[in-house]
């Protein structure tokens, strides 16, 4: 066997290794129900959940807890997923500043003891690029 063949085999092996290892790392988009089932099965992998933040009729954030003077690293809120299931979410970081404005958010984390612990919050804010409003003054 020539050296080039050996190198070729090693390259293929590494590529396969990368692909296998990546599929182990990838997360998935799930609902809270599935996230809870995964937790019940003892799986600790992190998942993505897409949902809407619970707001009252006036569009104000409701059912949330954030008292920075007590603990700036604790923020709890309710998220309603795409199957309309409501879930308490704890985010151990300061409340993102424009959280109220967010229409739809993606949280990354896992369910632990009936509470979804989010490590990351991705917000889809009304972006300026989608601006379609024009007011005459």
């Amino acid at each position: 066997m020539k050296k080039t063949h050996i190198i070729g085999l090693i390259v293929i092996a590494i590529c396969v290794g990368v692909i296998v290892s990546t599929s182990g790392d990838t997360s998935s988009y799930v609902s809270f129900k599935e996230a809870a089932e995964m937790a019940a099965d003892g799986k600790k992998s992190k998942v993505h959940v897409v949902g809407k933040v619970k707001k009252d009729v006036n569009g104000q954030l409701t059912d949330f807890y954030y008292k920075p003077e007590m603990d700036p690293n604790y923020f709890a809120f309710k998220l309603i997923d795409q199957n309309n299931q409501e879930q308490e979410v704890v985010y151990l970081n300061p409340k993102p500043q424009d959280f109220e404005r967010a229409e739809q958010i993606v949280i990354i984390g896992n369910t632990q003891d009936k509470i979804f612990k989010a490590d990351k919050i991705l917000m889809k804010c009304p972006s300026k690029y989608e601006e379609t409003e024009l007011k005459a003054n």
Binding site: V18, D25, P72, N73
Partner: protein
């Protein structure tokens, strides 16, 4: 002129598009013509066509720039990317902020490179330019903005569209068809940073330059000059690698200075999208080098040089098509161009692949003999393989959203998400690529001049190796004694990077004696190794120093392993962090023609948010800039939070992390960074009390007192010092008859005394009495002047208190980050030196007519 400017611009777009088609055809004709006279006349014709195309592109740029800088808001592009109060240097950023502008910038740089190619080439000119113009044709079509009648298929998106046409039938235009907005919606505040002014203009020459080696490669395959294309393409590949490299690193520096994810590299899809082609380009440079020295790796060079350009197009597709959705900091929306981009991508890929397949056999040949392990080429080739594997890994994960989209198109629902912890995911692979590259760049260099055997290799390698192991083990011991965590991979990366630096320095000194021009490779490798050091220290040992040790353990869900990364700083109260003490002093604003920051409480903000009145004389370093009562032009978008930091040894310095309150994007925090020679201290605001929220004040307490009396407010000793008549009240015109009285309160705090000055005004003519309360934000105290009792010489004041102002801060120490930036500069210097050498080689052969 104004109303025609858009039409002129659009006309230039169409001209540039048509002439790029004509240029492709005529350069093609010049290539395939066998008759020398015909060939020559086609070539001259093609040049004229390309010049006209160039002029048209300059015309587009000039028209668009005029529209933006003159604030012609009837044009959508000016309205949506610029605004009246935008500082002039950011006009350049407005230019490329939109997709159309960024395509235009790319086209513009291509034109400049095309002109250079025409100038420097002889026999290569026609075929290279034919390929070049073919790509240019596609780029021009991206801003064409023409709807094919009947088909309802839009080609490109024009930057010259009128706002009226963009908005469609909205009420404003029904009432007034000639309506022009008074102000634009402005530039994304995150992009208002000087690095963002120069980062895209640097990145796009890199994008443009990747086309040149590709064009040479294709021209070589086309013309049957399978080997010869390497020489002219080589300096261009080096040029592309250096400009693209600088562009990427500038983007990283922008992210470091502006975004608040805590670093310079986030493995964001957009970052990855240019990192991958850069790796492949660098791999291609190495195979070209192998070919130059040993006539091997021609096939690999062709594949890699083609792949790097295709990957540049793929990265354009990723970032411009909206396929990445919300997984990226770069928020380009879908302009409906993804179809066109895909078409472009597939068309070029297919053409290139066909070229390669047809010519494949002609590219091989000398591959039969077995490569020696003691040859330089063998080790360089292993390095190339490492580059490719590293690129493959990043590409594979970055494309996850594309798989979802693709499976969606063929009807399979896929819910794969990118890894939850992207940084960890990429790092665990890429760190090994770094280790191997460092090792190979050291070993490969020892095979510089001649073939080696094991004995000679050992002679060369022993001293650097022993030196490395000595230094490395000494440092590792030191780290362990200081109880700093160290992992085996970190040890490996550190040792191999050190080995690479030492070896390449020793090689540099060997070569530089003979010919400094040949040192490019050694310098570039030193740069890479330094970058690896910088990355290892600044990322591997970045330390969060704002750990919240004092906070209550409120949340039982948190567990013990959780890092409480943010601390709350009350205004004017020291807080202990690890080795530091911090104090939030107050919010600050920037003003025009003022070098520092102005205390917000010294400004009276006016209805026009870009204007403020000075409540006090405003000085900076002893020099007076504004008098009391002056109107100051301020930049209201950014609020800076002055944070004083004291080190354990008593040194103090001040950080100004900033937050931008933007009506459409909410609050955007950017860090304040203090640079030390051995580390950066990086801090950003994570949260502030909402600026829209009205403060909650305590119930009013009234005090009727005389000058000299003392009261306790919020436990502070507060003395009414005196009451005096004032002639001038900021923001309130007074006539001769009006009377204004100001009270001077002194509040004694632990460290300093504060003054509070409420004012009482009597407007005689109107028979009105009014009050201007004064708020001390440091203490959260508001005093209003309610009444004067002239008979008793007593004054009545109302006092309210509120929660003190605060910020929540996250602070990180980044050790030796400077080595990363220095390494980048060294790498680029090495690449440029190599480029000059390779260009001179090409020019010499060209002038001998043997290109």
């Amino acid at each position: 002129m104004r109303e025609y400017l858009g039409d002129i611009g659009h006309l230039c777009v169409i001209i540039s598009f048509i002439f790029s088609i004509l240029a492709t055809i005529s350069f093609g004709k010049a290539t395939v013509s066998i008759d020398l006279v015909k060939k020559d006349s086609w070539l001259r014709f093609a040049r004229v066509i390309f010049f006209i195309h160039s002029l048209a592109v300059f015309g587009i740029v000039a028209a668009l720039f005029t529209i933006i800088s003159q604030h012609y808001y009837e044009y959508h592009y000016a309205w949506s990317h610029s605004s009246n109060n935008l500082p002039s240097e950011y006009m350049i950023s407005c230019f490329w902020e939109g997709q159309e502008g960024s395509f235009l910038l790319w086209t513009f740089w291509n034109v400049l490179l095309g002109l250079i190619l025409i100038k420097v080439n002889k026999t290569w000119e026609a075929p290279v330019m034919a390929i070049f113009c073919l790509v240019q044709l596609f780029l021009c079509s991206m801003i064409l903005g023409i709807v094919i009648p009947g088909l309802d298929f839009k080609i490109g998106s024009s930057p010259f569209i009128l706002l009226k046409d963009y908005m469609g039938d909205i009420p404003v235009y029904q009432n007034n068809p000639n309506f022009i907005p008074e102000d634009g919606t402005g530039l994304n505040p995150l992009l208002q940073n000087y690095w963002m002014v120069i980062h895209p203009p640097t990145l796009f020459p890199g994008f443009a330059a990747t086309l040149v080696p590709f064009a040479y490669c294709m021209a070589g395959l086309w013309q049957g000059r399978y080997k010869e294309w390497i020489r002219p393409a080589f300096p261009w590949a080096l040029f592309a690698a250096s400009t693209l490299g600088i562009g990427i690193l500038m983007g990283a520096y922008w992210a470091y200075e502006t975004l608040n994810f805590g670093g310079y590299w986030n493995w964001d899809p957009v970052e990855n999208a240019v990192y991958v082609p850069w790796l492949i380009l660098v791999a291609g440079i190495h195979t070209m080098l192998i070919f130059k020295n040993s006539n091997k790796s021609l096939q690999a060079s062709v594949i890699l040089i083609t792949a790097q350009f295709i990957l540049i197009l793929y990265s354009t597709f990723l970032t411009r098509s909206g396929v990445l959705g919300d997984s990226s900091v770069h928020s380009f929306t879908d302009l409906g161009l993804s179809g066109q981009l895909l078409l472009f991508l597939f068309a070029l890929t297919i053409v290139a692949v066909i070229f390669i397949i047809v010519r494949w056999k002609k590219l091989g040949g000398e591959e039969n003999e077995e490569v020696s392990v003691y040859s330089r080429e063998f080790w360089i080739f292993i390095g190339v393989v490492v580059f490719c594997l590293a690129a493959f890994q990043v590409l594979y994960t970055t494309s996850i959203p594309v798989y979802n989209k693709f499976l969606g198109w063929i009807g399979i629902e896929s819910n794969i998400a990118p890894p939850a912890d992207q940084i960890e995911h990429y790092t665990k692979f890429q760190i090994w690529a770094g280790i191997l590259i460092a090792l190979l760049s050291a070993i490969g260099q020892f095979f510089w001049w001649k073939k080696m055997d094991s004995k000679k290799l050992w002679e060369e390698i022993s001293i650097p190796l022993i030196l490395t192991l000595l230094i490395s083990s000494a440092l590792i011991c030191l780290t362990m004694m200081n109880k700093i965590d160290i992992t085996p991979t970190y040890i490996l990366l550190f040792t191999t990077a050190l080995f690479s630096v030492i070896s390449n320095i020793s090689i540099f000194f060997k070569i530089v004696k003979n010919n400094y021009k040949l040192t490019g490779g050694a310098i570039a490798h030193i740069g890479v190794a330094l970058m690896l050091f910088g990355i290892l220290f600044s990322s591997g040992y970045s330390k969060i120093i704002s750990l919240n040790n004092t906070g209550l353990i409120y949340s039982k869900e948190a567990g013990d392993d959780f890092n409480r990364d943010n601390i709350l700083l009350w205004r004017n109260e020291w807080k202990e962090m690890n080795d530091y003490k911090l104090k939030f002093i107050g919010p600050r604003l920037e003003a025009k023609d003022f070098p520092g920051y102005i205390k917000k409480e010294h400004l009276l903000l006016l209805d026009d948010k870009y204007m403020a009145l000075a409540k006090k004389t405003i000085e900076h370093q002893g020099k007076k800039y504004f008098d009391k009562g002056d109107t100051i032009e301020i930049y209201p978008e950014n609020t800076y939070y002055e944070v004083l930091i004291a080190k354990a040894n008593g040194d103090t310095f001040t950080l100004y992390p900033r937050a931008q309150v933007n009506p459409t994007m909410g609050l955007l925090a950017s860090p304040g960074i203090e640079h030390f020679y051995d580390k950066d201290l990086y801090a950003h605001v994570s949260s502030i009390p909402s600026p829209d929220e009205e403060k909650e004040w305590s119930p009013t307490e009234e005090y009727t007192i005389k000058p000299g009396d003392t009261v306790f407010i919020n436990d502070y000793v507060t003395i009414l010092h005196e009451v005096e008549r004032v002639k001038y009240v900021p923001g309130m015109p007074l006539t001769q008859e009006d009377a204004a009285v100001m009270a001077h309160f002194h509040v004694l705090d632990k460290e300093k005394n504060h003054s509070i000055h409420p004012i009482y005004i009597i407007k005689v003519k109107e028979g009105l009495a009014g009050q201007i309360p004064d708020v001390n934000e440091d203490l959260g105290i508001k005093i209003s002047f309610l009444n004067i009792d002239p008979t008793k010489e007593e004054f009545t004041f109302a006092v309210n208190t509120t929660q003190k102002d605060y910020i929540i801060l996250k602070a990180i120490e980044k050790p030796f980050i400077n080595i990363l930036w220095i390494g980048t500069l060294v790498l680029v210097a090495g690449l440029l030196l190599a480029m000059i050498r390779r260009y001179q080689e090409f020019a010499k052969m060209r002038d001998k007519n043997t290109e």
